[in-house]
Amino acid sequence: MRERRQYPRYVVEGLDVFVDGMSVHTLDVSAVAVRIVAPDRTPARRSVRLRFESHPDMPALTADVDGQLLRATQLEAVYAYVAPAADWGERLADYDTFRQLHIAELED
């Protein structure tokens, strides 16, 4: 099993994250952890329910998982979770904001 920090982290677009039903601003997501903007004026909860939900114009993806607080500051909180599918990391890569930069060399 890889160490958590070794998983690629994506700055995602078209994929919303909810913490206990509340929409949050995502900073980045990996296959095993999600970093979000910390809730204002309330301490981050230790155990939460995380929901990932894609926008209608993006490849469909929905998942509900348990999240455990790994780290929290007044600005950000990191929750670890167990990937809900074997190909979860690859599926998250579809939402990477830089995905279109992987345009292949011109085949001329």
Partner: protein, 388 residues
């Protein structure tokens, strides 16, 4: 101006050509009281073009030590407003040149005040962008605090929303990475700063971010704006990539004219095609390099907490922004011209006259001002081609 060059410039896509004349006429036909782009009538009859000047940047820019711009702004005033390609006056923009033109046209000495001063500010805003794409244009006018009627923008709201959303998603992690928890910044204040990033009127709020990124306060907004502008070219390149690939594939088939030509002419055509291919490939690689560096430096900051590459990227960010605008404009223009000149000849060879026009057009588009970086290595020079 050379008529062939004029034709090339006037058939450019929206990144290179701002048809003030056509937009003003259309606007006035719908609303006779609508404010036009300029106060001075002759400027509202102009076509503003981005022009790759082989001689390089403005002498005044060089003397002042300003960043050299690979693209100049050219004001074209058609003699006949019903037929702009038939000929006209053209002027490479500089503040001094515009004042000279104004004196010639009106016999009035500009005094830096009044309605012409507003026109000078408008021209400067147009000169301050590497391309006229609506998103960039609107941003430049907002930054300069100048009004601009939507009729001049033809802005696709879907694209504008998509770019803005993408930028917001990238800016939030960026601010968190740069300012971190030690800044005392919390959720709501963070969101204010994220919004301020895309609102030129609130540039003062970006001061802490600019300081943390080692940006000078007097050009921080311009640098951060250039960084955001690169995201625009990234989005547009994604849209244009299939067409660029089609052009590259067409060139790779070593197209020949329909008519038989002497061996020497065939050899010359093959050589021109090879030069265009190198031009296209080099431009593609240059654009990819800029976007790759843009991505790598961002990831290094946001994911690896290593700010140095990002700070370094920002140092040259305006240059990257202008280069990306230049390269993107070349692609857009070549795709546009290629489509127009081949549209009646699907899967057929072009007649000789269209064929030579197209090669000349693509050579001008891709090689003008870049000859020094496009010298073909000996191994890539074409072997003698056989006649058609």
């Amino acid at each position: 101006m050379d008529p062939a060059l004029l034709q090339t410039l006037l058939t450019a896509g929206p990144s290179r050509r701002l048809d003030v004349l056509a937009s003003s006429q259309e606007l006035r036909s719908k609303d006779p009281a609508a404010p036009l782009m300029f106060n001075t009538p002759y400027l509202n009859r102009s076509v503003i073009l981005k022009f790759v000047d082989p001689k390089g940047s403005d002498q005044a820019d060089r003397r002042s030590g300003a960043m050299p711009k690979p693209i100049r702004t050219l004001i074209y005033l058609p003699y006949d407003v019903t037929d702009p390609p038939a000929g006209g006056e053209s002027l490479l923009y500089s503040r001094r040149a515009l004042r000279r033109l104004h004196f010639q046209k009106t016999n009035e000495e500009p005094d830096g005040q009044g309605s012409f001063a507003a026109d000078e500010a408008t021209m400067q805003a147009l000169d301050d962008v590497p391309a006229f794409n609506p998103f960039l244009l609107r941003d430049a006018f907002e930054r300069a605090g100048l009004p601009l009627h939507e009729a001049y923008l033809d802005l696709d709201q879907g694209t504008a929303k998509r770019i803005r959303r993408r930028l917001l998603l990238r800016i939030r992690p960026l601010i968190v990475a740069v300012l971190g928890s030690s800044s005392g910044l919390v959720g709501e204040a963070l969101e204010h700063m994220v919004d301020a990033f895309l609102d030129p009127a609130r540039k003062e709020e970006l001061r802490p971010l600019a300081a943390a990124l080692h940006l000078r306060s007097d050009d921080a907004v311009e640098v951060l704006g250039a960084w955001a502008g690169i995201a625009y070219f990234e989005e547009e390149l994604e849209r244009l990539t299939p067409q660029i690939a089609s052009l590259a594939q067409w060139l790779a088939t070593s197209p020949r004219p329909r008519e038989r030509v002497p061996p020497s002419a065939a050899k010359d055509f093959a050589s021109q095609i090879q030069r265009i291919r190198i031009g296209v490939r080099t431009a593609w690689q240059s654009l990819q390099a800029i976007l790759g560096q843009y991505q790598a430096s961002y990831r290094s900051l946001v994911v690896d907490s290593q700010p140095a590459p990002f700070v370094e990227f920002l140092r040259d960010c305006r240059q990257h922004y202008w280069s990306a605008g230049d390269l993107f404009g070349r692609f857009e223009q070549s795709i546009y011209g290629w489509r127009v000149l081949t549209q009646n000849y699907q899967d057929e060879s072009l007649p000789l006259i269209q064929y030579t026009d197209l090669l000349a057009f693509l050579l001008r588009t891709h090689l003008l001002g870049r000859e020094n970086v496009l010298e073909a290595p000996a191994a890539e020079r074409p072997a003698a081609a056989s006649p058609a």
